[in-house]
Symmetry: C2
Subunit: 216 residues, 2 copies
């Protein structure tokens, strides 16, 4: 498998965690979202994903090499094809709740903070994108916190990692980057801390990607 | 089951189509998104969904009455619990592609056009939301069209209705409401036309909801 992504893209990051959790080897191919107006907008990449977004996963399916974008579609595919170790609980309600928490991030928060939206707000609307980002991230995290409290153990749904955690961890990294106060979200912060101790989350972390800026 | 929703909310509409397709009876409970700053923001509704969004599905699961928001989480639950008639293809790639098309709408377009975002742009940024909406809807539909062309038959994925169609139909209704030219998206328009002939889509249509404005 080959994963086209960007080190701090939260959608790419979710997929990296899933691949690491399921011990699936893959080649990581960086797409620089900031270079020359964004490599994701270049025709060569638009052929892989006409939406011009990372991640794109390239893999063999039904006897052909396929390209797939949209992180939740990728996570569902990985869960169906490589069910062990699982990333969804067995019980119907908890299973639904894990997807609900994931979607609160994937549809409720991330689309309002991504690079394309930031650039449009600053270049077209000519206003500072930071208050916008803080508004949507904070209100989305508040709802996620309220719901996560009802099901959280060590992780968002009890004591097993699931889709929800894969979405929460990169989202909190993003919130910190925009100096959003996380003290109103102790459950989410606790989940983040617990996930950080797991090898799959460490392996998938933005800071450990080859396209991340060198520290020090 | 009880479905809290709003007649023209595209996320509610997707769930209504799924329920009708699977012949699942439910009670429809309108939430007026425009009344008194939006009934979805009232404390009574926030207890059902802290995100303050429709739809919310109330149903018995694992022996308890549960509340579930986020349309994709609801669709996945309905598909798992009531698999017949299906709303996802069997083949792995087409199954993933149906979810990918659905997510292009659910995460790529709809979050940028919803009522909350429109109000924030107009009241906080003090700019007209219409160019913003047209920009994101048009670019999202263009990507959806390009991908749908590769798999479409009568519907988005071959000749069977799937998640993708449930998302495309309400999205096109929204686009028309904002006078967005749909001629660049003939595949999507064809899917919309084919869906309109199905009883499940007719039963779930916004115009047929009790909270829709009376015509004539």
């Amino acid at each position: 498998m080959r994963l086209y992504g960007f080190w701090r893209s939260s959608a790419t990051w979710r997929v990296r965690i899933a691949l690491a959790h399921k011990n699936l080897p893959y080649e990581y191919l960086p797409v620089d979202l900031r270079k020359d107006g964004g490599e994701q907008n270049a025709p060569a990449f638009r052929e892989k994903n006409p939406m011009g977004r990372v991640p794109v996963l390239e893999l063999d399916l039904d006897g052909k090499t396929r390209l797939l974008s949209e992180s939740m579609a990728i996570l569902e595919l990985l869960e169906e094809r490589w069910p062990e170790p699982p990333l969804l609980p067995r019980a119907a309600f908890l299973r639904a709740r894990s997807r609900q928490l994931a979607m609160l991030v994937v549809s409720g928060i991330q689309p309002l903070q991504n690079t394309g939206v930031q650039l449009y707000i600053e270049n077209e609307l000519r206003v500072d994108a930071t208050p916008w980002i803080r508004h949507w991230v904070s209100s989305g995290l508040a709802a996620t916190e309220t719901l996560a409290r009802e099901t959280a153990g060590t992780f968002a749904i009890g004591d097993d990692v699931s889709f929800a955690d894969l979405c929460i961890v990169p989202q909190l990294y993003f919130a910190r980057r925009f100096a959003i106060d996380l003290t109103p979200y102790p459950t989410l912060a606790g989940i983040d801390e617990a996930c950080a101790k797991l090898p799959a989350f460490e392996a998938a972390h933005a800071k450990n990607m080859p396209d991340a800026p060198q520290s020090g």
